[in-house]
């Protein structure tokens, strides 16, 4: 509990980075929400022909998926800013059992990642209410999807913590994460049987439950849990062995 409160205090007492992440997230959500509503209100076909499309509420919920990117970055930073500023020395002097530090960071990172969804959700709802409030009717299924975004954000932030602990370098960790998202996973997805079990696909299964080429929610959650445990074990091993010079 001591370590968890210390990790929360570290975020709370150096708020600039977190505020930067938050502002960037809100900007993306505002743009995403506005363009989704605009596209919905202006995409009816000519002469009254209506194309089938998902309900606006579902599209708006999808907009806050963007929070996951910022949850990942926050997770990475929770570890790597300690290495960057050298505060990891003090952290490991106080808690020489480094696995405990990593466990506290995983917990706080997961919670902070999930917390990042709250302002995104609120901003989306405020914009939507002002713009098309009279048309909106979020169903129970929509709120279930929102709940899944909270869960996915916590998972992604925890993965970010583990990537950060493996690389111990801020830029390195972010490059690794983006290289995976942009190149590695799309390339590996070529193998049909492997594809649905890759991390992003598994997270997608957690988010939406089903897709054309997706596994079920439960299987997705189990798959991502395996990744969390495996990457966590590697992060713990590297953290324990790393010389702090």
């Amino acid at each position: 509990m001591r370590l968890v409160s210390a990790e929360v205090l570290k975020i709370w007492t150096a708020p600039r980075t977190v505020l930067g992440i938050l502002l960037a997230e809100l900007a993306i959500i505002a743009i995403g929400t506005a363009s989704t509503i605009d596209s919905d209100t202006s995409s009816n076909g000519p002469e009254g022909i209506i194309f089938p499309k998902p309900p606006l509420e579902r599209d708006l919920v999808d907009v806050i998926d963007a929070s996951l990117l910022f949850a990942l970055i926050l997770g990475v930073l929770i570890v790597t800013w300690e290495y960057r500023h050298g505060t990891i020395t003090q952290t490991f002097l106080v808690t020489p059992l480094r696995e405990r530090v990593l466990a506290a960071k995983l917990l706080v990172g997961g919670l902070a990642g999930a917390a990042l969804v709250v302002p995104a959700l609120l901003l989306m709802l405020v914009i939507a209410e002002i713009w098309v409030g009279d048309r909106l009717d979020f169903s129970g299924h929509d709120w279930q999807l929102v709940g899944r975004i909270f869960l996915a954000a916590a998972i992604v932030a925890a993965l970010g913590v583990e990537i950060g602990a493996c690389t111990a370098r801020q830029l390195g960790a972010i490059i690794v994460a983006f290289a995976w998202v942009a190149f590695a996973e799309p390339a590996l997805s070529i193998w049909g049987t492997l594809g649905p079990y890759l991390p992003l696909h598994a997270i997608d299964a957690v988010l939406s439950g089903h897709n054309d080429n997706s596994i079920s929610f439960g299987r997705g959650l189990l798959t991502i849990a395996v990744y969390l445990v495996a990457l966590g074990a590697l992060a713990g091993w590297l953290t324990r062995r790393r010389d702090i010079t």
């Binding site: 001591r2 409160s5 800013w81």
Partner: protein
């Protein structure tokens, strides 16, 4: 209290520390000396569990650092003055350390007062001078009121006033019976507070001795000034003493006491204008020992 036993650390092909062994006596201030790159910082980091030794072990109160039940209350350390988040205030930095160590925040204020940083504690560390960061590092080291202090170059960045303050603080901490291991290149500062000295060079052990013993061993000779220096020199050499001439009327005599020289001069009715034992400094002793190691 602190025991370093056959410690070796290699960073790829570089040997930073090699078969190093020494003990730091409980309740004493021990200066840990060596030229730049001697392996002092690596050794201190191994003692503090931050660097894994390639071979050997270092213990504090008989345990590896990672085995200590409550490290912050047992060992305080100052390693480098740049280990702070620049956007965090000094007070908040100490609070994060206190929170992790389970130390009440009231102790943060006490530590800040101890290092005379109370007035600046609300400012962001990014705006601190090097000396202020050193004081903040010391405050963090003292948070748990530990019995052992490991300090790596704590005088770095301190102005003369800060150096005097540090010296007095160390004396005060030592007088409370704490064990202090302090590495420094400001030898003049260390010699005023250290009871013992451990010297390493190129990662290897060179010497461990009490400060007094080291001064005595380095030896400074006896300065003798006399208008009859030539005559006195002959008499002293005849008595088997080693005599050097620094100036026309000044002799430096080795392997002798002031009493013996005074008696010889009186016996031969030679006037002396000065008769004094030259006090060697720790720096001279250190240079002599490390030069000797370099030429070996």
């Amino acid at each position: 209290m602190i025991e370093v036993d056959n410690l070796t650390k290699r960073f790829r092909k570089t040997v930073a520390v090699e078969n190093l062994s020494f003990k730091v006596r409980e309740g004493a201030v021990t200066a840990f000396l060596g030229p730049n790159g001697a392996g002092k910082t690596t050794t201190l980091r191994i003692i503090l569990g931050l660097v894994r030794p390639t071979a050997g072990r270092a213990t504090v109160t008989g345990k590896l650092y990672r085995e200590l039940a409550d490290p912050s209350r047992e060992v305080g350390s100052v390693l480098e003055a740049s280990s702070f988040h620049p956007g965090r205030s000094g007070r908040n930095h100490l609070r994060t350390v206190a929170a992790a160590a389970g130390i009440p925040f009231a102790r943060v204020e006490e530590s800040l007062a101890l290092v005379q940083m109370t007035n600046d504690a609300g400012r962001r560390v990014g705006g601190y001078s090097l000396g202020m960061k050193q004081r903040l590092s010391l405050a963090a080291a003292l948070l748990g009121d530990p019995g052992v202090l490991v300090l790596d170059e704590p005088a770095n960045g301190l102005d003369p006033q800060g150096m005097r303050w540090l010296r007095e603080l160390l004396r005060s901490l030592a007088s409370e019976g704490r064990t202090i291991l302090i590495s420094s290149h400001v030898l003049a500062e260390v010699e005023q507070v250290a009871d013992e000295v451990v010297i390493i060079h190129r990662g290897r052990f060179v010497e461990q001795a009490s400060t007094a013993e080291l001064f005595a061993r380095a030896g400074g000779g006896i300065r003798v000034r006399s208008p009859a220096a030539e005559q006195l020199k002959a008499i002293l050499e005849e008595a088997g003493l080693t005599v050097g001439s620094a100036e026309r009327d000044l002799l430096v005599v080795g392997d002798a006491t002031t009493e013996r020289i005074g008696e010889l001069a009186a016996e031969h009715r030679i006037v002396l204008h000065e008769l004094a034992a030259e006090k060697s400094t720790l720096e001279e002793a250190f240079l002599e020992l490390t030069d000797h190691e370099t030429t070996r």
